[in-house]
Each structure stands twice: as C-alpha cells, then as structure tokens.
Symmetry: C2
Subunit: 245 residues, 2 copies
DNA sequence: CGGTGGATTGAGGTAGATCAACATGCGTGG
DNA sequence: CCACGCATGTTGATCTACCTCAATCCACCG
C-alpha cells in the first residue's frame, strides 16, 4: 500500500492533499476522494516510481515530453531561461503537484529537484487513455490546472507590480500556506532553495533578496534560522507587507 | 448554422482556430475536429450567445463563477488588481479562448471587453456534465489549459527578466502571432488597448511604453499607424530585440 | 470650436542592479 | 574531531533603467 502515496494528488482539494500527506506518516495514506478502488488500481498499474537526488533534472526545455509526473516527496523547481542565461523560476512544486503537462510533445521548461525527491511517472499516452476512461478524474485534473493558472496569475502580479519587500513577503506566505499547517509557529519554514533561486523566482537579484530578508529580520517580522529556514514571527505584518488583500 | 462559430475553440489546435476563424467569412465555419455532429448539437443546446459592448465587464474578481465563456469575436482583457489600485493585466484574449474557468466557485480576475465582442456562455454545471459525457473534449480542454499555462510562463519571463524594449517587442510579436497570418505585412496589427493597458500588461508605466514604442519607430523596426495599430517593418530585428530564442 | 481623455515629451529622482570585497557555513579529508 | 577550502551569503559603494511629476500635444466628439 505504500505506493498509494502516488495518488495523494487526487484528493479532493489542494488543502486536503496537504493535510493528508503531511499529517500522516510516510507509509500511510488517505482515501482519495476522486478515485474509487478500481481506478486506483488501474492508475497504479500505469505508474513507475522514480527517486531523485538533490539537483537531478527531471527534464529540460526542448526534451520530448513522453511522460507526466506527479511529485510525491520533496521539492522541485520549474524554470525557463533566455538564451543569454537570464532565468525565471516559474514555481516551487510540492508533493501532490503534477509536472510536465504540455500542450504539445516538447517540454518548455526545466524541472530540477531542490531536495531529494520522489515522483510517480506516467506514460502520456497511457495516462490520456486512463483519463478518457475516467472523465471524473479528467475534470479533477482540469480543476487542478485552473489552480495552477491561478497561481501563475498571482506570480504575474508579483513580478509585474510588486516591490522587493512585497515580493519576498508574498513568496514566504505562499510557500508557508502551500506547505500546510505544520509549520505554523512551532517549526520554522524550510527554504531548500538558494538565494539565487529565490532571486530568480522573485525577479530580483541575489543581493536584493539578501538585503530584503535581512531587513525583514531587523524589523522582527521574520527570524532567519541558519540560511535554509525562516520562522514567521509576525503573520499580520508580513501579510500587510505582501501588498495583497 | 451561424451559431457554429461558437465551436471554433474546439478545432484541433490554436493554429487551426486562427486559420479557420479568420480565413473564413463571418457566417461560415470549419469542421470542428474534436467534436462530432451529435456533440456539436448537444453543446449548442447548452450555450447562450452574449454580445458585449466596448468596456463591458464580463465579470469582476470576487463574483461567483456561475458560467464559463468562450470568446467568439473581439478582444477581452483579463486582469487582477492590488487593493491600492496597481493592476496587472494577465492577457489579451482572442476568439477561441475560454474565459472564466476557476478552481473554485469565485472569479479571481476581472474580464473586460476591449472591443465590441461576442461570447458563448455555458452554465458551469451543465458544461461539466457535457465534459463528463465527452471525455475527449475534456482532454482537449486540458490541452488548452496547458497552452494557457505555457502562455503564462512566457509572460512570467517577460515580467521577471526582460528589459523594456524586450517586453514591448515580445508583446507585439506574441499578439501578431496569435492574431493569425492575416496581419503579416499587408495589414497593420490592431492594438485596441490603450497605452495604459499595454503598460499594465508589460509591467511598465504609460510613459515608458510610449517612449519605447517611439524608439522602435525611430529605429524603423515598426511603424505606428495612428495610435491604435502598428506595422512590423523588420520581423527579424524585432525578434532579436525580444530577447527570446 | 472648445474640451476631454489619451498620448507624448522633458527633467529629475529612486528602487533596485551592478560591481567589489568580505563573511560564513558546510562538506571533506586528514 | 578539527582545519581547510570553496560555495553561498552578506554588506557597502556606485550606477542606471525605469519611474515620477509636470507640461504640452493631439485626436476625436459633442
């Protein structure tokens, strides 16, 4: 039953995914509300599990898109680069997220593991066949795609219209919210990405990211735990600094 | 048969949509490759056509998302604003594009017609029912959603990492490509949006948009036809200035 | 013909980039 | 277990692309 973790993504909502995946131990799983037992079995028959080491590439822009993936453990970052090397990170993916859906047969982004990670891999044709046979799952996937589009819209606002402080505040809040409730207060929020990667996500430079985080620390809004984690000390203030709502 | 125009969106690919919609007269239509005759009939039974005047709001952020729409004529812009009024335009939609798919029941963006326009409106529940009964159409929609995500990714790169000249060059090329082949050389490219809207799409200010377009004109890369259209004089140079590829 | 909203143009200011040291932490091998 | 060395991160000084503010300009329209 351990391989059931690959189906976390099909739980009814992103919130549920976070709850079920993170509150349960690694070997347990919750009932997937969008899949019945037969569907689960069929889907698992199509899946192969794949472990990723830190910094492994899942695929690169230009690669043929033979598979789609579902992230079950760890963090993966999606990015796209210009020919001269400037890079934009499109998002940091967490367990439950799908990776590699493309409109045509070629990947248009790079996908790289930021931590050790595990993905569940499906052959595209087989996966499409499964969706054709299980339209309710296809609808659920369409809903997840709408969620990704919503996330992209928030990122576009961040990149197009927010100040450096607002960008960092938004980034931290978003990561915290998507990481589930576990990090609230008690544990610090893990930042497995480098400052350079935060810079490429927020459209800033490394130096500005560093200075801005230090400013937030000096203002006692956050606390920096080593270089790879933060603790949010003042939720409300961070929210206000984020510019949204 | 005139109402068939509402089904253009279901032609096999974005490219085909452009070809079939724009090369045929207003009253004609092409066979929709993703829909058979029965499907077309059923879908049309769910649709109501809706004319929009220039500047009409289709919906605003916060509205309940009762419908999804398919744009059949004209141009619509999607945007999202921060509480203090800063606005980010997420995209300019053309015929064939779907509008208003949301992960939950609330619209998260504003949708406004930039020209006189026509949309085809579907009740969400009914549309979902149709997709459940026609999984091949659901898959086609999933493919279109991937295309939207790809477009969003390009926009994120533009906003996060490109200079003003690159942003404007990219914007013009993208609009021209999506508008189909008709504009190449012969006709100028219509810009029904204001400079302010171009600014809110590119993450710049009105003044920078104006200055940058003027610079492109001075360099003889484009020609400004009045204030609402441009002619691309030098494709290759504009492409090089766009920073991509 | 006057007025109004969009577009242009100019002058000056600034947030964030860039360039350049310097610090720190961390994995590695002794 | 500690010292070393290199990655990554921080800090400071300066620069600049784009923003801001302030006039016009212009086209369209009653």
């Amino acid at each position: 039953m351990a391989s059931m973790t690959s189906l976390h993504a099909f739980c009814a909502s992103r919130g549920d995914v976070a709850k079920s995946c993170r509150n349960c131990g690694a070997r347990e799983f919750n009932v997937c509300q969008a899949l019945d037992a037969v569907q689960q079995e069929k889907l698992l028959a199509l899946a192969s599990r794949l472990p990723l080491a830190k910094r492994d590439r899942l695929f690169s822009a230009g690669d043929p898109a033979r598979y789609v993936y579902n992230l079950t453990e760890g963090m993966v970052c999606l990015s796209r680069s210009l020919p001269d090397g400037r890079r934009q990170i499109l998002g940091f993916l967490l367990p439950g997220d799908f990776i590699g859906f493309e409109a045509d047969d070629i990947h248009r982004r790079d996908a790289e593991a930021l931590t050790e990670a595990k993905v569940c891999r499906f052959e595209r044709a087989a996966f499409d066949g499964f969706l054709r046979d299980n339209p309710d799952v296809a609808l659920r996937l369409l809903q997840m795609a709408s969620g990704d589009l919503e996330q992209a819209a928030r990122h576009e606002v961040l990149l197009g219209r927010k100040t450096a402080v607002e960008r960092l505040a938004t980034f931290l809040l978003d990561l915290r919210d998507r990481s589930g409730a576990r990090h609230l207060r008690t544990h610090p929020l893990a930042l497995p990405m480098t400052r350079g990667e935060i810079a490429d996500y927020t459209g800033l430079t490394i130096e500005t990211v560093s200075r801005t985080l230090r400013r937030l620390k000096a203002d006692e809004v956050i606390e920096l735990v080593g270089t790879g984690a933060v603790r949010v000390l003042d939720d409300d203030r961070l929210e206000r600094l984020s510019g949204s709502t």
